[in-house]
Symmetry: C2
Subunit: 195 residues, 2 copies
DNA sequence: ATTATCTATAGATCTATAGATAATGC
DNA sequence: ATTATCTATAGATCTATAGATAATGC
């Protein structure tokens, strides 16, 4: 077995931390929560992240965003060349991932961390999540002669937040998240056609 | 001056706590944050809320939800009898209020509080926010012969999350939130018409 | 040898309690 | 008299550090 067949202990820490942070946010998750979930002691986390909680959160968030950048790129590349299919593909990708609560990230998590890192992370989130979706809307609207609302950034962030809402409502609904996503995508597509 | 012309000290506490809690969530806001903002000592908060932080959060959240119930009712009652106008009215109401991050509430804030209170608060949130919007969609779709997607609950939660996304994006955009809301409402309206 | 974990504990922060003092409203 | 605030402090929790011990991978 060559390198990285077995994930490192550090990667396991990151995986668990991502689950917890993405669910409950920076302040609500303690290092003890993460350690307990891993079955190790809280102090042991400092072996992997000598600068502690903030370093771990930044690493977790950055990795998640870079994974989104790549997952988004690949899922869009694989999808048929029509807007509806591409939005469905994006929805499936996002639904396969831990939730990204942009509102909480911006208002709560990010204010706790170092300003320089915050700006960098925000940029990464923008480039990895919002801009790719925005580009899909722009290309789709152009290609399919849809109503250009002029502000595809708003379409992109609304689209993201709808998927987020679906991930929440899965808790209270027996419907499949993909079905809900497709239904809302259908509404948006119709909304962009005609008039 | 009869009762309640001057808001009580307790009401001031609630007002400040709501600003902070709705922005950053239960765990990220400390009693010291609230006291500092009020210009008093942290221990003084226990005069108004003998059971401490949790009691304060529950009171704040419940009040906010009841205010939404009433604000929603009034704003819908005042709006013209067409779906688009009613959605615009709801958007304006929500944009006039502190943000409600449903995702964060469900995943993060609520898990910290007592189970009985949590269930009660969730019910109140459902009745105050989601159900009124759902009812507006149902009546509008019926009245205007729009495409019945069958699941107006999803429309309602998507609508709420779009407004939430707009409240976030105001930080990064020079556009008026009301304009953004109207634009997305227009897309949704078109999406519900025809096919 | 290197990597991962442990125990023990310091120091900071946060919630909460007790009891004293000041401000307010009949 | 009642309401609102204060000081002082206990106790819990949380992050972080130091140094010892165990596990792992050539």
């Amino acid at each position: 077995m060559s390198r990285q067949v077995k994930e490192s202990a550090r990667d396991r820490v990151i995986a668990v931390a991502e689950q917890l942070f993405s669910d409950r946010g920076y302040k609500a998750v303690t290092l003890r929560d993460i350690a307990d979930e891993l079955g190790i002691r809280q102090a042991s986390l400092y072996h992997h992240f000598p600068n502690g909680k903030e370093e771990l959160f930044i690493e977790v968030t950055e990795r998640a965003m870079l994974r989104h950048a790549e997952g988004m790129r690949a899922t869009i590349a694989d999808a048929p060349e029509d807007l509806e299919s591409q939005l469905q593909a994006i929805a499936r990708w996002m639904l396969s991932q831990p939730p990204v609560d942009m509102a909480r990230m911006v208002r709560s998590d990010m204010v706790e961390i170092d300003e320089v890192q915050r700006h960098r992370l925000m940029q990464t989130a923008l480039r990895s999540l919002l801009l790719p979706i925005e580009a899909v809307f722009d290309r789709g609207i152009d290609r399919e002669g849809l109503r250009d609302v002029g502000h595809s950034r708003l379409l992109a962030s609304s689209f993201l937040s709808i998927i987020e809402a679906i991930q929440v409502s899965v808790r209270f609904s027996s419907r499949q998240p993909e079905d809900m996503a497709d239904e809302m995508i259908s509404v948006v597509m119709n909304g962009l056609r005609a008039r």
